[in-house]
């Protein structure tokens, strides 16, 4: 507790200094006067207006000088470029990217363990199941373009908001499999011996579980009944085609994992789009029929050590420029529909990635819980 007061006092002192330093520039701002908030006030700021406008938010974030992000792999949904872009746009703010390959649960664990410390994460990009268990960790905030996010893509109070979704896709090496993959049962063929990998243990990683759900949808199951997905992987295992190696960009480039079922944005990012680090023969297909998507959510840590930078990061993510960066990676951003209407979407990118899916299945919280319960009792036996 003591250190927390000290940290608070230090921020207050810094804020007071900055207040006098900024007094001159505040008047020259185009809209209104900027306000300087205490740490506690900034942690409760629910919109840019609380900072006296965008200029005030930028000034406050610059004063903090840091932003702690967590579990954002550079090759995931273009986060590498997005982070670089932020540091370029706001050179006064340094981004600390912690545990890039961690899970959503790691985000929550870090927030709890480092509560009150300067290293605690400021913002989360978090899966829905873990988020719903930890709603008390987050601070409500509405970005300027709040109205462009569809109503069912966000919490009415601004506690969380969708950022992007991929579609479950099959990535494969065209050199090894010239016949391609047209339906999920193709993967059961003898050509695919020791070839098919998913992103970890489905009872642990959401992306791996989504591969099972997608297989369920493709094999006559539904969001309420994912057993056919487990059966599919059992058959895959029995055929000797299932590979229990954890795929990464490196295993795809080396050919160690010639087929990977994962989010489309990751399959796209590991292919020719990655240049020399990617696999030039990597092809991404979203199988026809019922597709599976899952939006990730943006939230701000209620106990964020850099609350202004955290809010500036959200404002930045929901600008058309960054939404287009998500899109370029094959991740459909939450504001896509509004951007298409306003013509701010990058048309070339959109035509390359393909139009946004009109209808895809996204498991509700209840369905996800039910599916996870089934996985935890059936999965290990199916592939063990």
């Amino acid at each position: 507790m003591k250190t927390r007061y000290l940290a608070g006092a230090a921020v207050l002192a810094a804020a007071a200094l900055a207040l006098t330093a900024c007094a001159g520039t505040a008047g020259s701002g185009s809209t209104g006067s900027t306000k300087t908030l205490t740490l506690a006030e900034a942690q409760k700021a629910t919109s840019v207006a609380d900072f006296g406008g965008m200029a005030g938010l930028v000034a406050a974030a610059n004063k903090e000088g840091h932003l702690n992000v967590i579990t954002l792999p550079p090759s995931w949904a273009n986060y590498g470029q997005i982070i670089q872009g932020f540091e370029k746009k706001y050179p006064g703010i340094k981004i600390n990217s912690e545990n890039p390959d961690g899970s959503s649960a790691d985000e929550v664990a870090a927030a709890k363990a480092q509560k009150g410390q300067s290293t605690a994460p400021d913002v989360f990009d978090i899966g829905t199941a873990v988020m719903n268990q930890n709603l008390d960790l987050f601070a409500p905030y509405k970005v300027q373009s709040w109205g462009d996010i569809p109503a069912d893509y966000k919490d009415a109070d601004g506690l969380w908001y969708y950022d992007y979704t991929g579609l479950m896709s099959v990535g494969y090496d065209t050199k090894k499999f010239p016949g391609g993959v047209k339906k999920i049962d193709d993967l059961l063929g003898s050509d695919f011996k020791n070839s098919v990998a998913i992103k970890g243990d489905p009872t642990q990683a959401n992306e791996a579980a989504s591969a099972v759900y997608m297989a369920a949808l493709q094999s006559g199951g539904s969001a309420d009944d994912v057993q056919p997905g487990v059966d599919f992987f059992q058959k895959l295992k029995q055929a000797g085609n299932f590979l229990s190696t954890l795929p990464t960009q490196a295993t795809v480039a080396s050919g160690e994992t010639p087929v990977v079922i994962q989010w489309s944005f990751n399959n796209v990012a590991w292919g020719p789009a990655a240049g020399s680090a990617g696999n030039p023969n990597w092809k991404t297909v979203v199988l026809p029929g019922a597709g599976l998507g899952s939006y990730y959510n943006q939230t701000i840590n209620a106990d964020s050590p850099n609350p202004a930078a955290a809010r500036l990061w959200e404002e930045y993510l929901y600008t058309p420029a960054v939404q287009n960066l998500f899109l370029a990676a094959g991740a459909y951003p939450a504001q896509l529909a509004a951007m298409e209407k306003a013509k701010t979407v990058d048309a070339a990118t959109l035509s390359k990635v393909g139009a946004a899916p009109k209808n895809f299945v996204q498991l509700t919280a209840d369905q996800a819980t039910k599916a996870a319960t089934l996985l935890s009792s059936k999965w290990a036996a199916a592939v063990g």
Partner: protein, 301 residues
């Protein structure tokens, strides 16, 4: 590490006790302070916190409901996996390592071969984690050098890499288990006096009699002690397994899953219970070793 420390403790205590009481209380304990503080901070406190977390819900109220984890068929299956993997790598590592030691006994202690094996063992015994996994992926992984050559010779589907399964991990673990055995067992083997062998021969015993009646009984406590150390080493290994196996199958991976799962949420505190289970397994083994040691030491005096 823990096993090694308590291992030595178990052997040393009975003999020291007498000497200790005659010594005046001095300032010698100060020398122990840095190690004790280090062990308490980085081993004791984390272990207590980890195990304690098993007795609470995520909201912080006391509960024993986390122990239902031990009724979960997956956890039980993975316990068998962990025990099997550790036992197989410990037994194989101990036997092969002991044979290597025996072979080294015939070498000139200052010869170059002996020196090379000695130093290689001390380096390789510490070779674990992701680096070890990578070394195996590069040699006998799906696209590893050997597997690719075999595939080119015998066809694409003729061979598959064994290292991505729990039984296959035995092979990987042996890479550090054998050197560890060489390192820890060699001093015991060197303690065998040539005179004992000569005495057996003089009395008309064969080489086999020597090993059965003299060599093995003397070496047994050290041999099984080293084997338990090897078991503990394999039982607690995490990073190598995590890098090679993505579908679980041993307890350290279950702890990771309980702590970090995005899909089956709310089981974080079961990790503490599994950790407690691991400690219990080690305590049982160490106690068995203690009994063994005392019986074996009886005639040594």
């Amino acid at each position: 590490m823990t096993a090694l420390a308590s291992n030595r403790g178990a052997g040393a205590t009975p003999r020291r006790r007498g000497a200790r009481s005659t010594r005046r209380p001095g300032t010698g304990w100060i020398g122990l302070v840095p190690f004790s503080v280090y062990a308490i901070l980085f081993l004791g406190i984390p272990a207590v916190l980890a195990v304690a977390s098993g007795f609470f819900t995520s909201a912080g109220t006391f509960t024993i409901s986390n122990f239902s984890a031990f009724g979960d068929p997956v956890i039980l299956k993975d316990l068998v996996g962990s025990l099997g993997l550790s036992a197989a790598s410990a037994v194989l590592g101990a036997v092969i390592g002991a044979l290597v030691c025996y072979a080294m006994l015939g070498m000139n202690p200052d010869g170059w071969l002996r020196t090379v094996v000695d130093s290689a063992a001390s380096v390789l015994a510490q070779f674990g984690g992701v680096m070890l996994a990578f070394a195996f992926i590069a040699t006998i992984g799906n696209q590893g050098l050997l597997i690719v050559i075999l595939k080119q010779l015998f066809g694409e589907n003729s061979v598959s890499s064994p290292i991505y399964t729990v039984p296959g991990l035995t092979l990987v673990y042996l890479y550090f288990e054998i050197p560890l055995m060489v390192l820890t067992f060699m001093p015991a083997l060197e303690g065998l006096k040539p005179a004992w062998g000569e005495a057996v021969a003089t009395l008309g015993g064969s080489r086999w009699t020597y090993w059965r009646k003299v060599g093995f009984p003397i070496l047994a406590p050290a041999f099984f002690g080293c084997m338990i150390l090897l078991f503990a080493n394999a039982f607690s290994s995490f990073a190598t397994a995590a890098a090679l196996i993505s579908q679980g199958g041993i307890w350290p991976l279950d702890i990771q899953r309980a702590l970090t799962s995005e899909t089956v949420v709310g089981h974080e505190n079961e990790a503490g219970v599994i950790a407690l289970g691991m400690i219990v397994v080690m305590v049982v083994l160490m106690s068995a070793y203690g009994v063994l040691q005392r019986r074996a030491a009886r005639w040594e005096r």
